[in-house]
């Protein structure tokens, strides 16, 4: 079976690299969080696509079904999604605090304020 072959991994890698680029290149903190989320979802898709079996159905037992997809990656990712939201919430809370303290959510402006303080 030539198609899709390894295509699923490549899609994952493209998404992951977009997320990675947002995290390291963009200065805006909220955008960094969005980038982290994109990165995270790409890892989820990676796991889920590993568990897929051709011709398989969703892993819910039924007498008429012979082949099931692998349920274990699904369980792992269920947990990971919820934990991901917890970390997102915490990150966003920290952004709100940073905005209160520095009146900006651009990381380079925060750096400027910090270095200006050190010189004083």
């Amino acid at each position: 079976m030539a198609f899709p072959g390894l295509l699923n991994y490549w899609i994952v890698i493209i998404l992951m690299m977009i997320g990675f680029y947002i995290v390291i290149a963009q200065g805006n903190l909220i955008k960094k969080i969005v980038g982290l989320n994109i990165f995270q979802v790409s890892v989820f898709i990676f796991y889920i696509s590993i568990g897929k079996v051709t011709g398989g159905s969703a892993p819910i037992i039924n007498d008429n079904i012979e082949i099931y997809s692998n349920p274990l990656p699904h369980v792992l990712i269920l947990t990971a999604i919820v934990v991901g939201v917890a970390t997102t919430a915490l990150g966003l809370a920290m952004i709100v605090r940073i905005k209160d303290a520095y009146h900006t959510i651009e990381s380079d402006e925060i750096d400027d304020i910090e270095s200006a303080e050190k010189e004083v």
Partner: protein
Amino acid sequence: MALTAYAAAQTRNLFAVVILSGIFSLLAAVLYVVLNAVDVAFTEAAVGAGISTLLMLATLSLTTDKERAKHQIKIIPLSIVSVTGLLLIFGTLDMPFYGDPNAPTNLHVAPLYISDSMKQTGIPNIVTSVLASYRGYDTFGEVVVIFTAGIGVLALLGHGRNRTRPGKNRNVNLEDENRIS
């Protein structure tokens, strides 16, 4: 999906970015259904597309929805990202093909769960039986993580927050955050 992600990287209006990330999550949920992971799709649609987007919109209302200036493509991050991506693609060349029933992941313990979980737990949905029965303690630990995150958010944003630069308080909160990560 890649288009949505790219648009999120390029757009400067943060409101649009947040909505795009919600759309991205929803597309991911659709993809999970296609990949037979219905439980994951439920969770992603509710939690990823719903709660995450809501939290981000709340943050926007508390901060600002304008991103500062137009930024040009930065060479160093772009090259780091390209090199990493190429290395990862090189790494996938050894991976089993999509949907291969003989892939190592699908051979180890997965068949055991598929054949025995109905007898052992009586729950037809294998994902549920693994999550709540075989890995019950793990799921409990997950609840602890969410609880800790909730405490962390309350500690950061709770009442008595000082509007000036935080002093001693802040270090305590950072410790909280470290424990989660």
